[in-house]
Symmetry: C2
Subunit: 405 residues, 2 copies
């Protein structure tokens, strides 16, 4: 068993990096706060006798050698970045639980056949740089290195510039190596485990996602002198689309999700009819056909804006198919949970995770622990220390089983 | 007659302060660009032999003494601030035409009975600091000095701090002095004069305005894990209100205007259901009863949000009644326009102007010149040199008549 109290302490320490007044964190990818977190992780790894390697897209790798270096390694990890006004556990819990597993193995002098590889992936959230899972996407060959390094945040700063600014533009190639298996531990970010009183979720699949960027361009005009019928009001067009997106999501309930999360008005002044709105739309569904229909419905909604005399420019920037995790990895987790006496259930993730991309290059599965009321991407996100310990224990036993086979 | 070419040159020079790539200006009140403009105006006034006085809210006053110092002065002026991505003439045209009038009088050695007082009012636009006409409002007793100095921009910087930062926190009291008459020259910001081929508009009245700040608070949630029916999506509620505001404006066409010009989402991240939207609403109408009904309709729209489980907080931050300008001042302008052979028509302003507040403390009226296609609060705002000259000539003769009576 892991040292649950020590794990909790590392989580509390990490939560100070980017802490917000309301108890959450804003630790955007490659920000100064993310650097603090990365430096601390390196420091802890070094204290525990490990070396921390940085690749060209800033991913951090900590390797615990096994007895048999020619065997493919077993990987675990997650991400240290957060949403703006995000929670204390989304992502970083999986990284620090992995560190706790390594520390426990060291203390107990437990050797494994295969190497264990702990990773902190860059920019999983897709908040500062879109899309999500950008760096695990590069590592697994979904995105080119050039594409990822050139992505820009809202201030026009590229991933490449941001990596250099915090000293995390490493030299190692961001390219998958042979892996025997991969396991990501994460908070559920939904209410099911807590509501049903079940200890852990074993994730067999994840919904597909499609992300869009849309710009509506009308004509900025004086709010006092421009009659209503002469306006080309980009905001009113946007409002129609936002409500259409919500209707699309409701049509595909319970499994579908449709969200407008971000919008930027130009010039965004009280007495100016908005001339332009840039906004995002995202759809999720476990079924790719349903995603096709949601996407078609979005285009239909954009087509009805005609009378408003707006120019519509829409691009799909992220399209990731629903995935099924590896049954062998799922079985490993089920078995370990049974041995530990943890109650379990099989789940489908509505959130995207680095593991979804890892699944393309290695047999992969995920473990979920409950989170209070399912709240995530919110400063109020919370877990209990006992849940944290359960997840880390389960990760420990799962990794041991996989690393010794 | 004024020197139209010289006036045009000062306008072109001024347009470099805050110039945008698309040919407009972003010269927000009390910004570094506004300071450049203010310094240049002071410099030009000093060159012409005048002194430039700054009051405690940053208003700039340039006085040309008359023969009879005990008589009340005649005032003219407008504002040098702009909208974000605004035009080259809104406001500053009236200030620089006033300067051209003073220069012309000097050159010709023309004396007046009364002093002429040229003003550059602080923060007319209401873009950086809401509400509009803030400093003329203080000068005329509508707002207290304390209220105005404490207004904050979107970054939390107060008017007081911004004044100090650019060195324009003067010491003279911002309090009206006795005035014989006041005339503001401005571009129309609407299409009527150009469309009808009329040289100048003589403004007899201005619409009333009501400005609101509204915050809708729901609950920020994960876009992938939060089912549609569990969401408290502040953006979708906002979208409903924005469309309701547009419908209200259409109900009150042709005279009514209803605009949502600004909105800020929190956290404004692609994969987060928006937890909060702060936005503004403004209504305009020449009839106060109509404004009452528009306001009631807004509250009715907010009341229908009930099912969305959002908290609504709405405040009215600006309520300014429709006004009628002084018939005597209007007659002065009409007479001067006739003498100059300019075609004219009587108009109602949909925009607010410093003159609307001056009207409370002195007999006041306004002159409009055409602007291309009525475009304003837009980088594409444009006027022709001939229009500019017409307006300044008319201002010259109007001021002469008033200052000699
Ligand atoms: N787990 C998580 O919140 N990932 C961010 C990407 C997504 O929105 O699915
Ligand atoms: N003239 C002008 O654009 N004033 C700004 C205040 C308003 O929006 O009416």
């Amino acid at each position: 068993r892991v040292n649950g109290e020590r794990l909790w302490q590392t989580l509390r320490t990490f939560a100070t990096f980017g802490a917000t007044p309301a108890g959450g964190v804003t630790r955007l990818a490659l920000s100064a706060e993310d650097r603090q977190g990365r430096d601390t992780l390196c420091h802890w790894a070094t204290e525990a006798g490990f070396h921390c390697e940085i690749d060209e897209i800033g991913n951090q790798f900590i390797r615990r050698p096994g007895r048999n270096p020619q065997l493919a390694a077993v990987m675990t990890g997650s991400h240290g970045d957060s949403q703006p006004l995000g929670g204390n556990y989304d992502g970083i819990y999986g990284v620090l639980a992995g560190l706790e597993v390594l520390r426990t193995l060291n203390e107990r002098g437990i050797e494994t056949e295969r190497d264990l590889l702990l990773v902190n992936w860059t920019n999983e959230e897709g908040a500062r740089f879109a899309p999500a899972m950008l760096a695990s996407g590069v590592w697994t060959g979904v995105f080119s290195r050039e594409y990822a390094l050139a992505r820009r945040d809202g201030d026009g700063i590229s991933v490449d510039e941001a990596l250099r600014a915090i000293g995390y533009r490493g030299t190692a190639a961001a390219r998958a190596i042979p892996l025997h298996a991969c396991f990501e531990l994460h908070i559920e970010q939904g209410p099911i485990l807590e509501e049903t009183g079940i200890d852990v979720g074993i994730v067999r699949a994840a919904m597909g996602q499609r992300w869009f960027e849309i710009t509506l361009t009308g004509f900025a005009a004086h709010a006092g002198t421009t009659p209503m019928d002469l306006r080309q009001d980009a905001l009113c067009g946007f409002a129609e689309v936002a409500l259409a997106v919500e209707r699309i999501g409701r049509q595909f309930a319970d499994d579908g999700r449709a969200t407008v999360g971000m919008a930027q008005l130009t010039p965004n002044s009280r007495n100016v009819v908005p001339g332009r709105v840039f906004f995002t739309v995202e759809f999720r569904h476990p079924d790719a056909n349903a995603l096709d229909r949601m996407e078609a419905a979005l285009h239909a909604a954009l087509a009805t804006l005609g009378e408003r005399r707006l120019t519509v420019s829409a691009g799909k920037i992220f399209d990731y198919a629903p995935i099924a995790f590896d049954p062998g990895c799922v079985a490993h987790i089920e078995h370990a949970a049974g041995a530990l006496g943890l109650t379990q259930r099989s789940m489908v993730s509505g959130a995207g995770h680095d593991a979804c991309y890892l699944n393309r290059v290695a047999p992969t599965a995920m473990i979920f622990i409950p989170c209070e009321k399912g709240i995530s991407h919110n400063e109020a996100e919370n877990i209990l220390p006992a849940w944290s310990t359960n997840g880390a224990d389960l990760l420990l036993h799962t990794l041991l089983a996989a690393a010794n086979e």
